[in-house]
């Protein structure tokens, strides 16, 4: 199919609608990002990593209107969890709805408000994003660095006593949010970041996470449950020796979601786990594009992505493990699976391994299948009704991804959300 417009025109059209606020300490980083974006241009279907996902709605100068309606009876995520709440409405920080920006062992500032130079943030803002542009281009991430005026800057200096929760509320039907967060986890420090909610009709987001020696970063995100929202998100992480990075995402509904994760294990004995559980019914397109680079020795990485698709929903997984020369004793694991609840749904997977060291253990697998009829009959023969048996099997399918959440209370909350979603979308 011919592209609708040449790339330069599309890029110019996308940029025309944005205002470039080039001031403050971020100015050089923004300028560089804009130059990167202009040079690479916004993506087209011919770009290698956009074959399965149509970037048109991310390229469009304006966000398509999206109803803010969810599934009806869904409850707020992480409701019962003690957390510091930072609320963004249509991508704009809402101080009145948020908790005071004070919590032990973490310095919290806002991207928009931080006019004076924050050294650590200046060294991080746009830096990991720029590193992550090679070898795969990520134009919307550069856009996030160039144009975001909202976001949080967190410097974690010790064991933070409770999770920091970023709560995204979508209120206006055509809101177009751009967010950029920077998180620096200092040596030996530990934090849990929660993200929830749909943010806007369209969200472009970048989160840069720099985990220093022995630091521990946990991220649990729940996207949804609006149906019509569109989101293109990126996580760029750099993990130093003995550091830990763990990210889990639950996605329920959403007409178009692309979640990119770019993780570099730069020190020895570092660990990175990135996992996702996505459930879609009908107009649902969900894309996980993951790139894990092993540079240090004896690092462990896991990618666990599960998708439950029905009524013509589409799931995409593009995941790569790159083991650089010298990254001996690498332990890399990648699994991407879909459970297709009917014949109309599709799963497109592109698992990749690229290994330049000889003493490594890497495995990957990708499967796509229907509910196991034998297991279903076994459950029913013990008296479990059909729908309950199907839900049990769907949850069992997702279990490996959910298990990536370390905190039991949070895992239980995610589990309940999934159960509720399944109950509302029983087939």
């Amino acid at each position: 199919m011919a592209e609708a417009k040449p790339k330069d025109d599309r890029t110019a059209a996308r940029l025309a609608g944005l205002s470039f606020a080039n001031e403050g300490w971020q100015a050089p980083a923004r300028g560089d990002a804009l130059a990167r974006l202009t040079a690479m241009g916004v993506p087209g279907r011919r770009d290698e990593y956009w074959r399965y996902t149509d970037p048109a709605s991310f390229n469009a100068p304006e966000a398509m209107a999206a109803s803010t309606a969810g599934d009806g009876d869904d409850r707020p995520v992480f409701e019962g969890i003690d957390r510091l709440k930072l609320v963004f409405v249509d991508g704009v920080f809402d101080a009145a709805a948020s908790d005071p920006l004070a919590l032990d062992h973490v310095e919290i500032s806002l991207l928009g408000a931080a006019q004076s130079d924050i050294h650590w943030a200046r060294d991080l803002y746009g830096v990991l994003e720029a590193r992550g542009q090679v070898p795969v281009k990520r134009p919307f991430a550069a856009l996030g660095t160039a144009f975001a005026t909202e976001g949080v800057l967190l410097r974690v200096t010790g064991a933070v006593p409770k999770p920091v929760a970023l709560i995204y509320i979508h209120r206006a039907e055509t809101s177009d949010a751009i967010l950029h967060h920077c998180i620096r986890v200092e040596p030996g420090a530990e934090v849990t970041i929660l993200e929830s909610g749909p943010a806007a009709a369209r969200l472009t987001k970048v989160m840069e996470v720099d985990v220093a020696e022995g630091g521990r970063f946990h991220h649990i995100r729940a996207q949804g449950p609006d149906h019509e929202r569109r989101a293109c998100t990126h996580i760029f992480a750099r993990v130093a020796g003995k550091g830990l990075f763990k990210s889990f995402t639950l996605t329920a509904n959403g007409v178009m979601t692309r979640n990119e994760a770019v993780i570099e294990l730069v020190g020895d004995d570092a660990v990175a786990h990135v996992a996702g559980a996505a459930v879609g019914d009908g107009r649902f397109h969900h894309d996980d594009t993951v790139f894990v680079t092993h540079q240090g020795q004896a690092c462990e990485s896991r990618q666990v992505f599960k998708k439950v698709l029905k009524n013509g929903a589409t799931g995409v997984f593009q995941g790569k493990i790159l083991v650089k020369p010298g990254a001996q004793k690498t332990d890399g694991y990648q699994i991407s699976q879909s459970l297709l609840l009917d014949d109309d749904s599709v799963f497109l997977a592109k698992p990749e391994l690229e290994i330049y060291a000889d003493d490594v253990k890497c495995s990957h697998g990708s499967t796509s299948g229907a509910i196991d009829e034998t297991a279903l009959f076994y459950l029913r023969s013990r008296g479990v009704p059909l729908k309950a048996a199907q839900s049990l099997l769907v949850l069992a399918f997702l279990a490996e991804a959910i298990q990536e959440i370390e905190n039991e209370e949070i895992a239980e909350d995610i589990q309940q959300l999934l159960e509720a979603w399944l109950a509302r979308h029983e087939h």
Binding site: A375, R380, A396
Partner: protein, 252 residues
């Protein structure tokens, strides 16, 4: 208890007839055994009775306590008191054995209009029954049948039966793959459940299970039909002479 009349069954996807007029009545409190060569249709009979898909009943009926079984969903049959111990118990990764048992028990209770069992009572019940079958707590925590040995799977079937307390129990080759000790455990488990209100249909290939679970009636199945019915001595005859003699005699 269970009354099967002139049951004819074919495969849904192929024109292959498997059961060709099965007649069988199991009275309350009795143990009936079905023996027969491989491929004679024993497992098919057990699947059709418990409601597995893939088969078409072309003629005949099967009732339990006077209620037609064949139109019921598998879960309805279970709630009505039918239980099949599978020849090949199914592995279900991701579903914990305890969750599975509790979900099943509570679903059956709910279907019968009874209250759910409390968490404490359930735990006590499982502990007691598991202990008798030498199933350790670790096995209960694992996903259903995943990583279980052949013998453990069969014991797990009997544990489910002991907890669900069905009134019509069908055991499909529960003895296959069991060593002598496990066979004893399983048989003791079954015998402990025998009572005036509960019936058993024990499908087996070998006489040895029937040394432990003494049947009231023995049927020989061949080529989709019950070809001979007798007392426990019939099983001994099979053991001694094999099926060939019996079947030849029938053919005459």
């Amino acid at each position: 208890m269970l009354e099967i009349k002139n049951l004819h069954v074919k495969l849904e996807d192929e024109d292959k007839v498997i059961l060709k007029g099965v007649n069988l009545t199991v009275e309350a409190g009795k143990v009936h055994a079905i023996m027969g060569p491989n491929g004679s249709g024993k497992s098919t009979l057990s699947y059709v009775l418990s409601g597995r898909g893939g088969y078409v009943v072309t003629d005949g009926s099967a009732t339990m306590d006077g209620h037609e079984l064949l139109g019921m969903e598998p879960e309805e049959r279970a709630a009505a008191g039918l239980f099949l111990a599978f020849q090949y118990p199914v592995e279900i990764p991701g579903v914990g054995n305890m969750t599975f048992l509790r979900t099943a028990l509570n679903a059956q209770r709910k279907a019968r209009g009874e209250d759910e069992i409390s968490a404490g009572d359930f735990l006590k019940l499982v502990r007691e029954k598991a202990k008798a079958l030498k199933i350790d707590a670790d096995m209960m925590k694992r996903p259903v049948n995943v990583g279980f040995s052949g013998g453990e799977k069969k014991r797990n079937e009997i544990l489910q039966m002991a907890i669900l307390e069905p009134k019509m129990c069908i055991l499909d080759e529960t003895d296959s793959g069991l060593d002598v000790d496990a066979l004893k455990l399983v048989s003791d488990g079954v015998n402990a459940l025998r009572d005036a209100g509960r019936s058993f249909l024990v499908i087996t290939h070998y006489q040895r299970l029937l040394d432990h679970i003494t049947p009231d009636v023995v049927h020989i199945m061949a080529n989709g039909r019950i070809v001979k019915t007798g007392g426990p001595e019939l099983a001994l005859e099979v053991e001694k002479n094999g099926y060939a003699d019996l079947l030849d005699a029938e053919a005459v």
